[in-house]
């Protein structure tokens, strides 16, 4: 699809808006439909669209192999880290009410937000990894 200039221009225009929508779905998981898994898949789909239109080599310039491997593990570490933070603050594992952030409702909100961000990062990185590994076999 490298020679089709209409598709190239529209993909370049749409790329930041799809990512913004993905972040919106992750952050607003608490007051409307959405959450970590759904927003992570939308974020992964934006990079897959870019790689389909421009080719695998251009896609590797956007996100290198080492960055992808590190982002795979970072989400799970964030999730476990929030749980350990609750143990340090004096409660049980993943008990958000104990965190010293003001009222009980605010601490619960922040705990859930941290969890959703961790899930979103891991799911998007794994979607990009699966696509790159299967698409590279066609060379």
């Amino acid at each position: 699809m490298k020679n089709n200039i209409i598709i190239q221009i529209i993909t370049r225009l749409l790329f930041p808006f799809i990512q913004l929508f993905g972040f919106y779905v992750i952050m607003h998981g608490e007051s409307g439909p959405g959450g970590g898994f759904q927003g992570g898949v939308i974020l992964g789909a934006s990079v897959i669209l870019y790689v389909i239109v421009f080719g695998i080599d251009e896609g590797r310039k956007l996100i290198s192999e080492k960055t992808n491997d590190i982002l795979n593990c970072t989400g799970v570490l964030i999730y476990g880290g929030v749980g350990l933070l609750c143990i340090i603050a004096g409660g049980k594992y993943l008990e958000y009410n104990i965190l010293p952030l003001g009222s009980v409702h605010f601490a619960s909100h922040m705990g859930m937000l941290g969890i959703e961000i961790g899930v979103g990062v891991t799911v998007s990185a794994v979607m990009i990894t699966l696509f790159f590994e299967t698409a590279r076999q066609g060379k």
Binding site: N72, V76, M112, T122, V123, L130, Q137
Partner: protein, 103 residues
């Protein structure tokens, strides 16, 4: 051979449809699935967690440990695909030689 497969599929379908005679009706509010834990989640989610979306509060607060295992499952799937399909510098020369022999 295909008639054997069709026969097996029909027998399984009829057995499953016979099992749905005892199941609750569609949209029944007295069904046993709506009685055990779900009313407690519906009534107490705003005062215990402060979140409006009941599905997110059950997923991240009441059953947060299961969601941790879930994230590990999708991380493991990514690792399996990397192990099976990635070419490192050691076996890149081996693969090039194999491709040359067959094609």
């Amino acid at each position: 051979m295909k008639t054997t497969y069709l026969f097996v599929v029909l027998i399984t379908g009829i057995a499953l449809a016979y099992g749905t005679i005892d199941m609750p009706n569609f949209g029944d509010p007295q069904a046993p699935a709506n009685h055990h834990v779900a009313p407690r989640y519906i009534e107490k989610t705003h005062e215990e967690t402060g979140v409006d979306n009941m599905v997110t509060s059950v997923l991240a607060s009441y059953r947060g440990y299961d969601t941790f295992g879930e994230t590990t499952v999708i991380f493991t799937a990514g690792i399996c695909v990397i192990l099976l399909l990635r070419e490192t510098r050691d076996n890149k020369k081996k693969n090039r030689r194999k491709k040359g022999v067959r094609s």
